[in-house]
Symmetry: D2
Subunit: 433 residues, 4 copies
């Protein structure tokens, strides 16, 4: 029997708090879950530094990956199978792409990617196509199968309908993470009626559309997403931890480049610092490695590196104030000067951080962030774009919201033993009392 | 104002998935949460290796500690306050002991304690009484306050009623972890009506009793506990991971004692291997440190250490069969011999592991595990022991249940290139197919 | 001791699926709950005919009334008490008004009020001020107390802050019914974080405002309300049952006025038909009385009354099509003529029904439906109107949505044994197949 | 196409709070739901008088019947289909029997059956086999089909496996009502992992067995059942309402037999009083009819009937004390005498009520209440009786628990204007203060 058709003798189930059970019947899927590259996702938190704001958010990308797989499995096996516009020969491809879509994520991805100019999507591709256990399993399906999986994840696969299951404005990825992150943080947002959405999804040409009768469930989903972004993902305390994390990485890189003698040599970071990281090096990185170094670096001579590492481990975060880059750059530069005068390095201790989100967008061809809109399938078979039908979605459609905040270590400022004048001025500018 | 009476200008809340919100008004509590020793609990998983069975169980002891505090806060402030048999001057002591009761736990405590003869309760005491941030905060209440907190946790404090809030057969610790572990694993056990139980708790002499009208809620709690023990805490797959973890620690210690040259020197373990661990060394240990070493040791020359570390990281666990130590010791010794013959070291690869629990016990003075029973407060004011009143509890009271399992690496046995005879015999004895 | 200060010797609790427990300590509240007028609310469904669409929605106004009381109790006792702008001497008035605010509702209120020009608010007032058990209890607090309670419910009480707890765009009434109706229907809308909203409510001058930090919880509440209106309250199948119910009442009244000899004389309806219903007559009306008559009338000679009653009891509802009153009145009149020609009385069998809602409104003084907006309390103490701060709310603020549907009995039309031409034309106009 | 194979063009779903959605694809099922006999179940409460204790428990037998259908549908379509020991030609029979199993229930069944010696199971049979809409639908499947459905419900059908889906110690009926009644009452008992139980059910010979791996889920179910019986179904306040209800029926019957001239003639009751109720009479009885009479009878001359009806409507229930029939019969007779002396008719106002349950039973052939035990299917294919495997179940297996209470109207006793001696003695015997 073809490998991709082999079934386990007994169905395996994972107890999952979000979907109750994740069901695995296919040997292919079971084997992928057992690879070391997939098991590594247990050591990468789904929400990076968010656990420092919401203590419950300690869950890893492992559970999320299973969840996306499970949602796609239900779409395909329970809803699409047998429908005229669905080609069931794409099933296994969909399941594998769903399971593996986050495989290239490293620890605290966002900071790492920004500081070191890495891209987790490239690593996902490399893991799928490279010399890995995952690749060995996928190749058992066919020589070209790994490439197809990578293409679906990269959104270059020829069948756009397949892509849209995993990457669209209403896809399995988002549906899982919204619910999962809401569950673990404990917030009351993030709930919507996924059962209903799944039941009204229909394959159609090069996309998946929603029967009109399910419009309100989709509205609810859009609102959940909006709330989760601003309540959880962009929470300013989380951003503060992210700022410190980035600055640790910056500092370590700079010290390395300056030839600083580390007490604890950052062997795992060499190739990253030098911009030539290999897949093998990358796969060794997980959060325990990073936290190991942060603990070790608490004892470095360099006071900035040591201070930042202690802040991260012991959650002594930066404070923040609202910041308007259009109007307050003069203030920012003034603060920069004052920080220097006070002996606080502004490169590491005075940071503007911005968050921005577009909750839903209709189709604007050619624009930078071209996004395929959600289409409703009416009773007469025609398609209508969601924001034309929904007052709620229309109210927020296409409206980008951006927040900027200025982060700084209030304790350092207040502790200044000298430079009373600088301290007073800084306090005035930051409105500290 | 006395430090322990100081209130925060604005109440702080932690969003908690189990209790919805954890409320902090007292500066004392807020300061304790901010200490580095308490923040360290974020890097210690509540359920050790259980995440390898239930992938959702990645939560740390940090959230549990907050949860126990919150339950005790509700008992004291919402239920006990103002009642005749309650001395509210013990309030702050109760809250601190609740918050700090698990402070001495290290990574994967159970295995560590067993292999290295450590005791997390000693470390809790040392952290509270030693040169730590926690101690500094506690001492602001009074010179003797740290000692009182330690005594409550050690169950030696003079007021037994205070102890029973945190350590009894129905205490805040158990009520939090049953619910919390059920939430994160996603199992349907572990739910009981804590709101009801809190409402019917009454302080009485040297214990906390339950109004008779709340008996059924307590029955439900006892059953939840029973189910959680056998469904989650003693799950054989979790035990398998625990067995491997213990054997890694054993092996590393033995190699160290034999003078083996580690490629990656286990600096963090020296004092533990030598049986003279200091508080400062101990506090550096967290799960990221352990996992860092396990990754490093995958590349050691020693094939046993390397193999076991790979097994742990990649979740290639041991299989198991039921084992009856009273009847099957001959078989066990036969297997030991066969394993040796097959070149598999039975000291590391053939392990009997036992789990045992007493779901509830009435009072049996003088016995090894003397446990204070749960008392019901009847309408006429008299006390009745729970199992005398409840058929359900009576049915399981005092009945110890013990399970033994024999763990082994099925893959190694099946891969044996040589020793066909040993392989066949092992397979027969272990009933492998 | 003053009656309103009397406490029960033991707190009473009602197990409530929405709020877990409803707590009663005050003898005043306990006595009100025990009155026959309050117990009568058990025989009035909260959502009228909605149970014919959502079979779970069989809950009565009794539970809702307890729920509104419980929310106000928490506001007052847990959040407002002790705050400078809160006058705690209004507490008992708030609790009583909350508990009794729906007391005048009759069975299937909306249809009854429309057909017979009744007003449940008048009856609430009459019950509170008239010769009732409720009035006797309230008068024990003070001679003017019943009047004050009635004024709060009627929104004429001098202290507008008190009114706003029960009647505003974010009040205890709405917060209870959205959650309760969502619970019983089983829909996934209707959930929002009431705990959070309660915690950020602040008494201020003549209203209750929301701390800015709670804005997102309020957004979620506004969206829940929007979804519940269109998904549940205005559900076209529910409206269909409501249409039939109204037509039964119309028909019975008309027959009565025409001197029709009822087999089952509608004694309970006499005074209503004659427009001179007394409080005593009104209080006898509950849903069992109505359903008793509907069953009896199934056997009346009058075929319209009999048919409509059978439809209601056996859920043989009218079908519907979208209807645009601005463009389709010609069609409506044509259908009226055709129905007559086909022997189907259009007065009873061809009905336009409209639903309309304004999800949130900012303040538009002097307009017909003047509504007090929700104000956010910023950190500097100033107030900001919600829709100015929230993109989501701004997107739907002030936008009235109205739906019209045309209801008709498809079975009657399809069964026409004669008048083939009329049937064909009706089918064409209504697009029946 | 055979009628029982006809599918609806679009699947119909009922939103259900317990199962989220109830799915109907079969025209047969849809048609049955639409019959007037099935719609009548909306007017019969699932839990009779329980809403007077748990105000949320106002749900009808309609939702429960849909729920049992849905569970059986999942068993058959999702779990059993395709398994060797399952005969799928029984599918439609199973679904119909599940849907219709409670069809013969009348209002407040338990009291009605006891007082008038009726049996709802006989009426279920009559409805299925008689001149009804339900019978017309069923006969479209086959002339013998109604009889088969009736036999499954009566447990006389030849295929015992089919019966066990609906009537056994772990059947769809119990699994629905435990969850549903827990949901509507709001109690925290009644939850168990039905998904898990469904997944481990296996058809086997003449029963349905449970794979051993699901034992703990079954334990949880048995405990839920136990708790629901004692916490909800046998709640003494509910029993008090039931006692009053029975006594109203008794009184009305006695008055009728004595030739009493009712102001409001009990036309609906004539045939019941005379012991010759017809199906057509029976089907007219629903709770609104009963409550209509109770309201009317409040105005009867007979003070007992009038008083009891007012008590029921306004929830002025009887108080109770524990009663031991083995030891306290002398006291009971003494009270009877005293009640008479005090002018309170003991036949109506002094009532012993008993509740009794056997939480689980192993097989005891030939005994009065012979019950088929639950069997676990072990890995080697053999069956083991549940209580032999489970300590928890063994602890309560075969242990019947019985409670007796003595009910009386405390208000009447306390109000006695005369007979001070009798009053004092009664108070002493009943320990009233």
């Amino acid at each position: 029997m073809a490998y991709e058709k082999e079934k386990l003798s007994e169905e395996k189930v994972f107890k999952d708090p979000v979907h109750r059970y994740v069901h695995v019947r296919d040997k292919l899927i079971w084997d992928l879950i057992g690879t070391r590259e997939f098991q590594r996702l247990r050591r990468i938190k789904q929400l990076g530094t968010t656990y420092l704001t919401f203590h419950g958010a300690e869950h890893s990308r492992f559970g999320h990956s299973l969840g996306v797989y499970e949602i796609v499995r239900r779409m395909v096996d329970d809803v699409f199978k047998g429908r005229p516009e669905w080609d069931n020969s794409e099933r296994d491809l969909c399941l594998c792409a769903a399971l593996l879509h986050d495989l290239g994520h490293g620890p605290f991805s966002h900071s790492f990617e920004k500081v070191f100019h890495l891209d987790h999507e490239n690593f996902t591709r490399e893991i799928i196509l490279g010399d890995t256990e995952v690749n060995q399993v996928l190749r058992r399906v066919g020589e070209d199968f790994p490439k197809a999986v990578a293409e679906v994840i990269e959104k270059t696969y020829k069948n756009k309908q397949v892509i849209s299951l995993i990457s669209s404005q209403i896809d399995a990825d988002r549906m899982d993470y919204l619910q999962r992150d809401a569950y673990y943080t404990g917030v009351s947002y993030g709930h919507f009626d996924m059962e209903r959405i799944l039941r009204v999804m229909r394959p159609r040409d090069d996309q998946v559309v929603i029967k009109q009768s399910g419009m309100h469930a989709v509205e609810d989903y859009i609102m959940s997403r909006y709330q989760m972004y601003w309540q959880v993902y962009f929470h300013p305390v989380t951003r503060s931890a992210e700022v410190i994390l980035s600055k640790i990485l910056h500092r370590a890189k700079q010290l390395y480049e300056e030839g600083y003698q580390f007490k604890h040599t950052p062997a795992h970071f060499y190739s990253i610092f030098e911009g030539k990281v290999t897949l093998s090096d990358y796969l060794k990185l997980d959060e325990s490695i990073i936290l190991y170094y942060f603990q070790a670096w608490e004892e470095e001579e360099d006071s900035i590196l040591s201070d930042l590492c202690k802040r991260f481990s012991n959650r002594r975060l930066f404070q923040y104030v609202e910041f308007n880059p259009n109007e307050e750059m003069v203030k920012f530069f003034e603060l920069t000067t004052l920080f220097k005068r006070a002996g606080i390095d502004p490169d590491y201790y005075l940071v503007v951080d911005s968050s921005s989100d577009l909750p839903y967008d209709f189709y604007r061809p050619g624009e930078e962030e071209e996004r395929l809109p959600i289409h409703l399938l009416t009773q007469d078979g025609s398609l209508k774009e969601l924001s034309r039908q929904s007052d709620i979605v229309d109210g927020i459609s296409g409206k980008r919201r951006t927040d900027h905040k200025l982060y700084f270590p209030q304790d350092l400022i207040m502790d200044l033993s000298v430079k009373r004048a600088a301290k007073l001025k800084i306090k005035e500018l930051l409105k500290l009392t």
